[in-house]
């Protein structure tokens, strides 16, 4: 069985599990919305300021929501030792990791699909003409987030205080991703000279680096 096929089976399982209860998904969307709304209480930006600072707010919301939502990825598998069942199956450990990464990508993307239009409306930021490129930034940024986040979910699953530990481990690592994603998004929304290409390339590089490291270390992550 190829890694891709096994990962697809696991992805289907993760999706089925989550869509049955939808608890995590709902919580992620609601939390992101709360962060976005709360910011508007903190300061009332003008339309121009929204375009400049809005991307930062948006990505902070996703980072926070993501880091809270990612921990059940592996900690959920401790119930009934289902991770053992996956490890005993004739599949590679990378396929387990990859399947979960893809599932987390889907969940976070769904939250983004809800939050981005809401943000655009609340802060009067027009997205016309930049939708395709915005989606590109969102995809690359979210990928980086779920790649590292899923790995750290596996790391923190065996530790105490793992709900709090995951954000603590994850957020510093994502600092470069945050900078790149915010700059790329801002360059789409403001009139400043655009370095969109540079930042997108950086995001892609970030994703490649950490996907490679995850692949190299996946056996250690998934082992007993």
């Amino acid at each position: 069985m190829t890694t891709a096929r096994a990962a697809a089976i696991i992805l289907a399982k993760e999706l089925r599990l989550e869509f049955r209860t939808r608890e995590l998904l709902n919580a992620t969307v609601i939390f992101s919305l709360i962060v976005v709304v709360l910011f508007s209480f903190a300061f009332e930006p003008t339309a121009a300021e929204s375009r400049r600072y809005g991307p930062g707010l948006l990505w902070i919301a996703f980072l926070f929501a993501g880091s809270l939502m990612l921990h059940p990825s592996f900690s959920r598998e401790q119930t009934n030792s289902t991770l053992d069942a996956l490890r005993m199956a004739p599949i590679s450990s990378f396929s387990i990791l990859l399947g979960k990464m893809l599932a987390n990508f889907v969940f976070l993307s769904l939250a983004e699909i809800v939050v981005v239009p809401v943000f655009s409306v609340l802060y009067n930021v027009s997205l016309t003409g930049v939708v395709a490129r915005l989606i590109l930034v969102l995809v690359l940024g979210t990928l980086g987030l779920v790649i590292t986040g899923t790995v750290f979910s596996a790391v923190s699953a065996h530790a105490r205080m793992r709900e709090l530990l995951l954000p603590i481990l994850l957020l510093p690592i994502l600092a470069p991703l945050l900078i790149a994603a915010v700059e790329a998004t801002a360059s789409l929304l403001t009139d400043e000279p655009s370095h969109f290409g540079t930042w997108v390339a950086f995001l892609a590089g970030f994703d490649v680096v950490f996907m490679t490291v995850s692949w190299l270390l996946c056996d250690y992550l998934v082992e007993e």
């Binding site: 590292t148 790995v151 205080m161 530990l165 481990l169 690592i173 700059e183 680096v209 992550l221």
Partner: protein, 238 residues
Amino acid sequence: MKLRFVGTIAAALLIMFAGYAALFIAPEERTMHEIQRIFYFHLASWITSFTAFFIAFVANAAYLATRRAKWDWLGVAGAEVGVACCTIGLITGPLWARPVWGIWWTWDARLTTTFILWLLYISYLLLRGLIEDPQRRATLSAIYGVFAFLDVPLVYMANRLWRTQHPQPVILGGSGSGLDPVMSKVLLVCVIASFGVMTLGFLDRYRLEQLRHECEELRQEVESRAIESQSISKKGQT
């Protein structure tokens, strides 16, 4: 043991001499005057902390490759020593910056990278504190350590890219640019002395971890022998 004692005394003397040199031998700097003297230890602390973190990274990778406990001990020693040196750097930096440039802090590439580095290894130590099982602790923290260290160049790059697009007034000039020869020598002494202290820190922390490991082994051996003798005496009774 004697070597350790001699080494400790030597390192202590060296650092005291370095302090003296920084305060009295080095000439007064033209524009910044006395406060500039902190620069010797500031730069030295940054060099030692980065070295310590690099050693920790190598140790983490080596542990994953070999699963020998000594690499785990070296890894945690590197992280702790690195965090200590980095803390010194992060404190001396603002102390120097404030009187000279009027600000405590700025988010340039170097400072940001240093701060993130500090956060990453603090998180590493936190992670270790929260995992009970020694083998798991070693494996999982090694994985995190590898990720953390590989993140550092990315942080630096992201910041540099950002800086090229949002030019800020240049505040921290090149630290090695046009240094007076006496100053260079003092700097060298400070760096060597700091490395001496760093090495001591490494050795002590490594030894501490090694002793903890041995203690735990002895305790387990005692326990298992107690259990065995209990079961033997039980068998004797039946």
